[in-house]
């Protein structure tokens, strides 16, 4: 540490809010920046990281007893860092802090992204300006403002077309020790933050069609150029959507846009709770969806009649064939059901589900898609399975496969939802069903 420099700085500003940027921070910030898929935002993220480390160091050196938690901060969440020009979700004790990085001490206005002021998920109790001066290699904790004061005043100041508020620096408190007093002694309910939107799904459904078209076009452009504010709020507050957006920067698979459609269905469509099949609690709704439950194998033998269509028996036959060629082990208490679709080509989908582990919350789903008995196999039919992140599988039933049905087995955990889409070979509408297993 250059003692001469430090003396100088301390003398001049009489404050230890000036922090010499340590070499390991510079390295780490570079790495964090480099790892961001969006090249045009790497520099922003680099500065954000330096601001974060400077702030953490300052808090720790002034009051080591204050608990700091950076794990959820946007710096470490690339899908957020890709969008928001501030560091949100920094936790100190019971308070949320948002850091605003700047590079120029002489700025009389501070640029605060609308995201961190107007969206409940990203607001903070305190907003702190951290200046990073790269030429002179120091960070400077320059001032702060609390949420109430910011919101009370924001309407007086410009909101730019790129969704940034321009707040005069004179509105910020420059005696940083006052922030320490607040963090250590203030009751958290002294500043009330707004609650998050409890029903974002409605807004999501409404905008679905538009967003489905626009989101794939965005790539690494800023959102304000392509979306309305409301559309942006929906996208940014939904973890799966913003994740999809981030992945779209590097995912060149032409199917990825297809996945977006599936994702919207996963987010908005009604789910079938497979657990109820096992517990034999099929509610009316599912009856309406025309799932036919099938009894367990032990019950079957009495009802076997070769000449009539016996879905249970057909399923058993198929499962027997499956168990001969694979090592799939289906427990006796598995839930079984089937559903038929008959737009043009008759199709029948069997679904068998069972619990793998209660403690680890894992479950299994076996799907068999074919035609109805006494009809030719529906060659050309496709089956696609997606989860939140990606398309898991795509299969097509072709005659050269030598089988009459498509079969797939999936395993998932408690939070996961599986979207099953059937694309009939005749060009009629796709059929999708959304499964989950609620523990």
């Amino acid at each position: 540490m250059n003692t001469n420099l430090n003396n100088l700085l301390t003398d001049f500003t009489n404050s230890s809010a000036i922090i010499e940027l340590q070499p390991q921070w510079l390295e780490r910030a570079l790495t964090i920046g480099d790892n961001l898929h969006n090249q045009s935002r790497q520099f922003n993220l680099y500065l954000q990281a330096l601001a974060l480390f400077s702030f953490e160091y300052w808090i720790h050196s002034r009051e080591p007893n204050l608990a700091i938690n950076l794990a959820n901060s946007s710096v470490f969440k690339p899908e957020l860092a890709n969008i928001i020009d501030a560091i949100c979700n920094v936790q100190v004790e019971d308070f949320k802090i948002c850091l605003i990085p700047t590079v120029d001490l002489s700025d009389s206005e501070i640029t605060i992204p609308r995201y961190v002021v107007d969206i409940p998920e990203f607001v903070a109790h305190f907003y702190v300006i951290v200046e990073i001066n790269e030429e002179l290699e120091f960070g400077f904790i320059r001032g702060f403002i609390d949420y109430d004061r910011l919101v009370a005043n924001k309407k007086k100041f410009p909101l730019d077309i790129d969704w940034n508020y321009a707040i005069p620096s004179s509105l910020f408190e420059s005696k940083m020790e006052k922030l320490l007093v607040n963090l250590q002694c203030l009751e958290p309910n002294g500043i009330t933050l707004p609650n998050t939107d409890r029903e974002p799904e409605n807004k999501l459904s409404d905008s679905q069609t538009t967003l489905q078209k626009i989101l794939p076009e965005i790539k690494n452009q800023p959102l304000w150029k392509q979306l309305t504010w409301e559309q942006a709020v929906i996208t940014v507050t939904n973890p799966d959507l913003r994740n999809w957006l981030y992945q779209s920067l590097t995912n060149n698979n032409p199917n990825f846009n297809l996945h977006l459609g599936d994702l919207f269905k996963i987010l908005t469509q009604q789910t079938i709770n497979l657990r109820e099949w096992i517990q034999n609690q099929i509610d009316e709704l599912e009856q309406e969806l025309t799932w036919q439950m099938l009894p367990a194998p032990a019950m079957l033998s009495k009802f076997r009649d070769i000449n009539t269509d016996n879905p249970a028996a057909s399923l058993n036959d198929i499962l027997a064939q499956i168990s001969q060629v694979t090592d799939i082990n289906i427990p006796s208490n598995a839930g079984r059901a089937y559903q038929e679709f008959a737009d043009i080509t008759p199709l029948r989908l069997y679904a068998v589900t069972w619990l793998i582990s209660e403690t680890e919350k894992t479950w299994s789903l076996l799907l068999i898609l074919g035609g109805t008995p006494n009809s030719i196999p529906p060659y050309g039919v496709k089956l696609r399975i997606s989860d939140r992140h990606t398309i898991l599988q795509e299969q097509e039933l072709t005659s050269d496969l030598g089988v009459a049905y498509l079969c797939t087995k999936l395993e998932a955990t408690a939070e996961e939802k599986l979207l099953v889409t059937i694309i009939p070979p005749d060009g009629s509408t796709e059929i999708s069903r959304l499964f989950e297993f609620i523990f």
Binding site: L5, F12, V103, S106, I161, K178, Q184, C185, L186, P222
Partner: protein, 459 residues
């Protein structure tokens, strides 16, 4: 007439950072012995003198080396002195910068007894002398100016006085498209101009910011290979390649030449820089909005009573935390920790002045003492931690205070004033005190408590 006294009058500062000058008799005698004749005949230029002096200084075998060194140091110190004067003249009126702010930064400390024979230091003056290249045409005074202007500490001083040298490229990097649009609109630019400049700024961001970190790495790698230190220009001008890329992105009917792009960018920076339209500050009037609330007088008394009980514990904790901070570093700073204890003792228990403390602890000056003791912070820390404890003991009564940041701030101020009134004056007095004044009793509550804590530690 050329002033040759510059070669034997050394300008510097004392250990308090105050300006001082001193004649060096050895240097004077030496200089006149070799050069007087030529000077009288008006036959010698500074350049020749310096050339000769450097010859002696850089040749380790001659006896003249030391004296030549003195002469050079004196000369450079005079150049710096002049530089400080002219900088003051430039900035004093608008920014309040004075020469006295610059002297301690740029000049060397002249110790009380100047007997330094072989001055090996890393001061600015030493650096200037060591890096001066005789083979180039520039004079020593020009070289001094260059080095001073590039000196980091000098730049920091300017920065904190608000005299900031902001390059065009920094402006362009940090300005958001929204801000540019707003400024252009405010200044009455046409839609098409706003559009054009907006696109240009965004293209610049895309090309320049993206590559900035990589380019810096390249530049610094090259500098390292050339034996130079890291660049202190984090925002270099865009390269020709970058300008071409920007032009390409703009995708307009006529491709712009790199120079055109450069000029347009500079134009944008100029517009942003010279924007003097004030923000509607008259709507702010922060203090008149909320009349400063006050604390309940009875509550104050309750609090003050409680404080006396807990102050010892809190002060102990705070001092302990500071010690631990030094000791828990990767390489424990034992000396610093000890100095802190000693320093606090000298200040609070024995009433020493800053200067005397510096002496006792063998620190170079008052500023080092200030930095070590951090008296203001000590008071802040004690107050804040006191409130933290009061939270629990007086919960019901103070809850109202603790839910309003304004009230909390007042409480903090009151407590600070209670335990150590007028700390700014106390510190200033201690700094102004004559060198060896001791035994000035520090009477504040905090002072007494600190002493108690230190006494207990000593046991």
């Amino acid at each position: 007439m050329v002033n040759h006294a510059n070669y034997w009058i050394l300008r510097g500062v004392n250990s308090f950072g105050q300006y001082q000058s001193q004649e060096i008799p050895e240097a004077e005698a030496f200089f006149l012995e070799y050069f007087e004749g030529q000077i009288q005949r008006d036959r010698i230029e500074h350049r020749e003198i310096q050339y000769t002096l450097f010859g002696w200084y850089r040749n380790e075998e001659t006896e003249a080396q030391l004296n030549a060194g003195f002469c050079l140091r004196c000369f450079v110190s005079n150049c710096i002195y002049q530089f400080c004067l002219s900088t003051e003249q430039k900035y004093r009126e608008t920014y309040g910068l004075s020469r006295n702010d610059l002297f301690p930064v740029l000049l060397d400390i002249i110790p009380q007894n100047y007997v330094a024979r072989s001055r090996v230091g890393d001061s600015l003056i030493s650096d200037i002398i060591n890096t001066f290249d005789l083979s180039k045409d520039s004079s020593l005074s020009t070289w001094t100016s260059i080095k001073v202007k590039g000196n980091r500490e000098y730049k920091i001083v300017l920065k904190f006085y608000g005299i900031v040298e902001v390059t065009d490229w920094l402006i362009l990097v940090k300005t958001t498209p929204g801000k540019l649009e707003r400024k252009l609109r405010q200044q009455g630019y046409s839609e098409s101009e706003i559009q054009e400049y907006g696109n240009l700024l965004e293209a610049f961001h895309q090309v320049y910011r993206t590559k900035l970190l990589a380019i810096r790495r390249e530049i610094n790698t090259q500098r390292k290979a050339e034996g130079k230190g890291k660049s202190h220009k984090p925002y270099p001008p865009p390269t020709n390649d970058q300008l071409k890329q920007i032009s390409k992105i703009l995708n307009i009917s006529r491709q712009l030449e790199p120079q055109e792009v450069l000029n347009k960018l500079k134009n944008i920076a100029h517009i942003l820089r010279n924007n003097t339209i004030p923000e509607p500050i008259n709507e702010l009037s922060e203090n008149t909005e909320n009349p400063t609330p006050n604390l309940d007088r009875e509550l104050e008394i309750v609090i003050y009573n409680q404080i006396e009980d807990i102050l010892f514990t809190v002060t102990n904790q705070v001092i302990e935390a500071k010690i631990n901070y030094f000791m828990n570093k990767k390489t424990p700073k034992i000396q610093k920790a000890n100095n802190l204890i000693l320093g606090l003792n000298l200040f609070y228990c024995q009433g020493y002045s800053m200067g005397e403390i510096a002496n006792q602890l063998e620190l170079s000056g008052q500023s080092q003492v200030s930095r070590l003791l951090k008296l203001k912070e000590l008071r802040e820390d004690v107050s804040r931690n006191t409130i933290s404890i009061l939270k629990d003991s007086l919960k019901a009564q103070v809850t109202k205070l603790l839910t309003e940041p304004e009230k909390l701030a007042i409480l903090d101020n009151k407590i600070q004033e209670f335990i150590e009134p007028e700390i700014q004056e106390v510190i200033q007095e201690a700094e102004a005190e004559v060198f060896d004044s001791k035994n000035k009793t520090r009477k504040s509550l905090l002072a007494r408590t600190v002493c108690q804590c230190l006494k207990q530690r000593g046991k």
